[in-house]
Amino acid sequence: MIKIKNLTVEVGDKQILNGLNLELKSGEVHAIMGPNGSGKSTLSYVLAGREGYKVTGGSIELDGINLLDLSPEERAVIGLFLAFQYPIEIPGVQMTTFLKTALNSLRKARGEKELDSLAMLKLIKEKQKLLGITDDMLKRPVNVGFSGGEKKRNEVLQMAMLEPIFSVLDETDSGLDIDALKIVAKGINTLRSPDRSFLVITHYQRLLDYIQPDVIHILSKGRIVKTGGAELALELEKNGYAEFIENVA
């Protein structure tokens, strides 16, 4: 599914990722945990193809395709999705227009038939129920006037609509109360399947109580310093990041 090899990335003049290696197989859920400044968000933006992140070495492949050659929209076409840590507000663009344009752009690029308004509406209705998204939210411009929890639920709604094969969730749990967290986790769990993988980036163990990952990685100073099972998160919860960071230093 996804293979990241020896990835080095600079932002400005500063090296943020220092030879990161990561491999996810189809159907797997991996979590990346790490302290602030360890490179978690940089990894998610590099995967999605945001400008300003200079890849100085290494490679990223999704199903054998070199991601680094592709524009952000081309990455979405082959099945990548990033749930933003801070979803962007777009005044003047209605939610439904946005969802419709996005899904039909993907379908068009993949040579599939575009959905008409009725089919689209039906699909939105089905997905919005799952995530407790109100009709009122869909009438508003994208993320404008949404609470923190609504924004995160909206990210998962988009994910449910676009059905990516590889999703990166960048601190989707931050700023959520426990009820919102449960809704978001339910949305993600519903999408889990043998042909989809998820990379869950998080600061806290909390989200992992609801989305059980197969593998947990600890990121520190731009590189993965430890990989393990669910017990690793519990260990972190108890002892914090200190011992892992010192290991590197």
Binding site: A76, P87, G92, T101, A102
Partner: protein
């Protein structure tokens, strides 16, 4: 007292639109040119007491020519005029439009100008609010590319108390195009309780596009609320990336953001199209 008969017409291509008291009318005027000749158009519009007019003007054509439009508008007591102008002339054309508006008590004028055509266009308005509780709104959209130039000069005179005026402009400028907005609000000494707002926002799609904005407030009354503002910026890169990350191609995403930028202008003119 405003006139109820036409002012002397200054050209052969003229129209006199007269809506009698209490009546309502929809009028569609289209001037499409394919003869590369210059044109002088005189439009004289009188809307009497309690009458309503919805006016749509459309300009288009091919070739190189000049269009001069002179427009006199008189709105009597409680008259309403909703005015849409589509300026989509040939890219080699020069389009000049001089508008004079006189408004009596409690009359309402609202307009949307969609300015896309001409290599050079000038929209020059003088609006006189001479009856209390009258209100006027001038909204404009400039969509310019290549070496197009468009200038709007709007001067509003608040001669009496309790009137409102609004000027809202959105300009989307690509290539080497130049937009210019000069909005003037003149509040006479008698014009107490005037409420006037003015805003010009420009989106520059290229580093060589230019926007000039010059707001002018000339106020002699001491109890008024007048404000003005202007912004000039570029497409938001974060918004663009967010849309693209959802699979929306760059050009489609840009168009979505441009449409979003001008969408507010269509309030009250929902049928209007770019």
């Amino acid at each position: 007292m405003l006139p109820k008969t036409p002012t002397p017409l200054t050209s052969d291509e003229s129209a006199f639109i007269h809506v009698k008291a209490g009546e309502s009318l929809k009028e569609n005027l289209a001037f499409i040119r394919n003869d590369s000749k210059d044109h002088s158009i005189h439009l004289n519009i009188i809307v009497e007491e309690e009458a309503t007019l919805e006016l749509i003007e459309t300009y288009g054509g091919n070739g190189s020519y000049t269009t001069n439009v002179e427009m006199d508008i008189f709105l009597h007591r409680n008259a309403v005029l909703k005015h849409l102008k589509n300026q989509n002339e040939s890219q080699e054309c020069v389009h000049n439009n001089i508008v004079s508006i006189h408004q009596d008590k409690s009359s309402s004028y609202s307009s949307l100008l969609i300015n896309k055509g001409s290599k050079n266009s000038h929209y020059n308005v003088r609006s006189i609010l001479q009856g209390e509780f009258s209100t006027c709104t001038f909204k404009g959209i400039n969509i310019l590319k290549e070496k197009q130039k468009a200038k709007a000069t709007i001067a509003i005179e608040h001669q009496v108390p309790n009137c409102e005026s609004f000027q809202f402009y959105r300009s989307v400028l690509d290539d080497w195009s130049v937009g210019s907005f000069e909005g003037r609000v003149h509040v006479f000494k008698e014009g107490q309780k005037t409420f006037a707002r003015q805003m010009s926002n420009a989106l520059l799609l290229s580093p060589t596009a230019t926007m000039f904005t010059r707001p002018e407030l000339e106020i002699y009354a001491d109890d008024v609320e007048c404000n003005h503002g202007a912004t000039t910026g570029q497409l938001d890169q974060e918004q663009l990336f967010y849309l693209r990350s959802r699979g929306i191609p760059e050009n489609v995403a840009k168009n979505l953001l441009i449409e979003a930028f001008i969408s507010e202008m269509f309030e009250g003119f929902e049928d209007a199209k770019l």
